[in-house]
Symmetry: C2
Subunit: 204 residues, 2 copies
DNA sequence: TCTTAATTAGACCACTTAGTCGGTCTTATT
DNA sequence: AATAAGACCGACTAAGTGGTCTAATTAAGA
């Protein structure tokens, strides 16, 4: 019992430090030794808990990254109100934390997807699965919004979801290169203009 | 004279092969030897023409990538017609070539920007400069569109440009993970809806 | 043809990488 | 206290890594 706790604690420490370094320097550009040095641990410890660097990365994806994305982008839009406003709010909130994070390096998910494209197909799959979760949540929210009269009937929910995801990925990449505050403001403005075109028109 | 030609030819061969491999496997995940092996050249040849791997990469960026982006995304929107339709056309055309490229790994520029974020600040700067060129072209086009009556006066050209770039970056990343054709169609649909909200309203 | 310079070959160096393995310490069980 | 299992250490290996250097080859000009 105490044992398992210690085991999990060490694994968690490794994963947290690993994610931080992978996110900062990229997966291929971060060595296992880098992570170990940061925690004053040894090779033995690492390979006792994980059987390879890749498996380690996958465990990070499935434990930490899923969580991050879910709590920041999926859960907030599971309400019953106007999809457009709750989506806008969740994106804006997420951009705000990015803006105030001095070491922001872009959207974790899209960075890793870009890096593992072609190479590392297995890892890439796990990452895309997370994107898919977000996509489904968006689509669900939009569909419900139709029944509730918030979203125009003719709207293609799939298309809107893909477009929203695209825009978010792109703006995060640009924000990481400076001028985050300004970009965030512009983004929300345009997102709003876009959403306005998808609202049911008042009869006149 | 013959010399210079040969020199340039070899450099070009190295750059083309380098870009291909960097694009496929990432910059950090491609060794100089990989490139050399592909061309049956030796270390000596490489370091005779380029003084380091990084300088080599920068030369690729400034020769090949600039060209690619310019001819695909900047030049096509330098017309005098409706900005929205020429922008839409240039993006669609660019997505079409991506769709039909079986080895599409996403948008070259954004992939490299993501990879060199934090690490490799110099390289990152050169890449962002190219994005900037595109941004300026978009803004110019939109501004001209206002005088010509294609774009509503109240529109924030900077914001629209940033938003268009974002969306394009994001959709390219998603397209690389399969289902390209469908995504392209959805993207253009939504882009059109968005643009409609930025057109001057007919007086009624 | 002889000389000189441009270009390429490839052995070599110092260093880093992911992963292994025999051993050690620590904790739980009897 | 004795035993066993869990957790960790750190030297080591084999395969790369970017980059250097000398020698060989090729082409140009006299």
């Amino acid at each position: 019992m105490e044992q398992t706790l210690k085991r999990l604690a060490t694994m968690q420490r490794l994963q947290v430090a690993g994610l931080e370094l992978f996110y900062q320097n990229g997966y291929h550009n971060t060595s296992v030794d880098d992570i170990l040095k940061k925690l004053d641990l040894s090779k033995g410890a690492f390979y006792y808990h994980f059987k390879s660097k890749e498996e380690f990365f996958i465990s990070i994806i499935q434990n930490l990254i899923v969580q991050k994305v879910y709590s920041a982008l999926v859960q907030p839009i599971e309400g019953k109100e106007d999809p457009f406003s709750i989506i806008e709010n969740s994106l804006d909130a997420s951009l705000e934390t990015a803006e105030h994070n001095f070491f922001d390096n872009g959207f974790v998910l899209s960075n890793f997807i870009a890096e593992t494209q072609g190479k590392d197909p297995e890892v890439n799959t796990y990452l895309n699965d997370i994107l898919k979760i977000w996509e489904v949540a968006l689509i669900t929210s939009l569909q419900k919004g139709k029944s509730d009269g918030y979203v125009a009937r003719h709207v293609d929910s799939d298309g809107v979801a893909a477009y929203v995801i695209s825009a978010y990925i792109g703006i995060r990449l640009q924000m990481a290169s400076g001028n985050a505050k300004n970009l965030r403001y512009k983004f929300v403005q345009q997102l709003r203009a876009y959403f306005r075109s998808l609202v049911p028109q008042a009869i006149h």
